[in-house]
Symmetry: C2
Subunit: 207 residues, 2 copies
């Protein structure tokens, strides 16, 4: 039962979680893998297998208890307490992330933000005050933050990532359109918006 868990499984658990919250909101008590599959666009057998990695959450002939499943998933994904995150670069994407609500239930919280633009420093977005990026390393160490978001321009990306590393950050989500090279022990995810668009263009041609 505690075999290797595919990392796709983890990704899908987030999707299930979203759909389960919706079901909970409309008062659904039980859901079958089949019904969940329609909401999430995932094969029912996969859904059952995904959950079965972590335990026997369902009842045969009935399905899964929505509230109970929500709690189990929360637990698996360790959504509580939320991780504290530092954000560098308050441009458009940075602002979008800072302004995003509903983070409470999502397992993390942006608690500090940095920029090098004096116009921006001191301003407040959703209860986070923008600080001078020169102080970033010090502040991250002070507050013992372990996750960073990189929303700075490409030319600054490597430098800022390096500072995050030096400050003891263990995971970085980057939106810079370039590879961020970090040692093995630091988890890095790069989301390149333009590449995502290009990919989509490619796939839409194929139809």
């Amino acid at each position: 039962m505690k075999n290797k868990i595919p990392k796709e499984t983890i990704s899908r658990l987030f999707t299930y979680f979203r759909s389960l919250l919706c079901l909970s909101k409309i008062g659904k008590k039980y859901v079958s893998s089949y019904n969940l599959s329609k909401l999430c666009n995932v094969n029912p057998a996969i859904i059952r297998k995904d959950f079965s990695y972590f335990g026997d959450f369902g009842t045969k002939g009935v399905g899964y208890d929505v509230e109970n499943l929500i709690d189990e998933v929360k637990d698996i994904l360790q959504l509580e307490p939320p991780s504290e995150v530092a954000l560098a670069g308050v441009g458009n994407i940075g602002k979008a992330l800072l302004s995003y609500r509903g983070f409470d239930s999502e397992g993390f919280k942006i608690v500090m933000a940095f920029d090098n633009d004096l116009q921006k420093i001191g301003k407040k977005i959703h209860s986070v005050t923008i600080e001078n990026i020169d102080l970033m390393k010090k502040r991250i160490i002070e507050e013992d933050i372990k996750m960073g978001v990189l929303t700075v321009p490409e030319e600054a990306a490597h430098n800022v990532a390096q500072q995050m590393k030096d400050a003891g950050i263990k995971a970085i989500l980057s939106f810079a359109p370039c590879q961020i090279v970090m040692p093995e022990n630091i988890e890095v995810t790069c989301i390149d918006l333009s590449t995502e668009l290009s990919k989509l263009a490619y796939y839409s041609y194929k139809k």
Copy 2:
């Protein structure tokens, strides 16, 4: 040689493309799969296999001709001419995408943008004038646009996606934190920024 091509291969080609442009910029004439692997963080054997799906681009004992490979990849990914894209929702993420440069070489071009905020309508961002979203369907049909980007709030997402579908859009990139349900023949990619952050939090705990 023209077997099934893994979709991961396509994703990686975009990564290679980025690195190849860098190599070209610094005047590198040839690159081996090994050197490219260090830039892209991908196993050299995979790189060779990825290219081999499309032809014999390399020279044994030498490597790949950078300029030639760039052209081949451009061709494979059909980056030219760029696809025209319509964007709905000029919030922070919408603005970020509109402001993003370097799209020329990337296979697409945002040619129209829509919002329902009268304050925004008529304003111009990077040569694109924001139009009233009520006119979206008509305008997309007029200009025969086939790709759409959804950067509207969650509550508007389904409605706007539906309008795009009705206007004949074939591919949608959505940043709304919810599943967008579309018929099989419409390609949909959802990027949920908060889920990406949560995933990263999960993986960083595991270290």
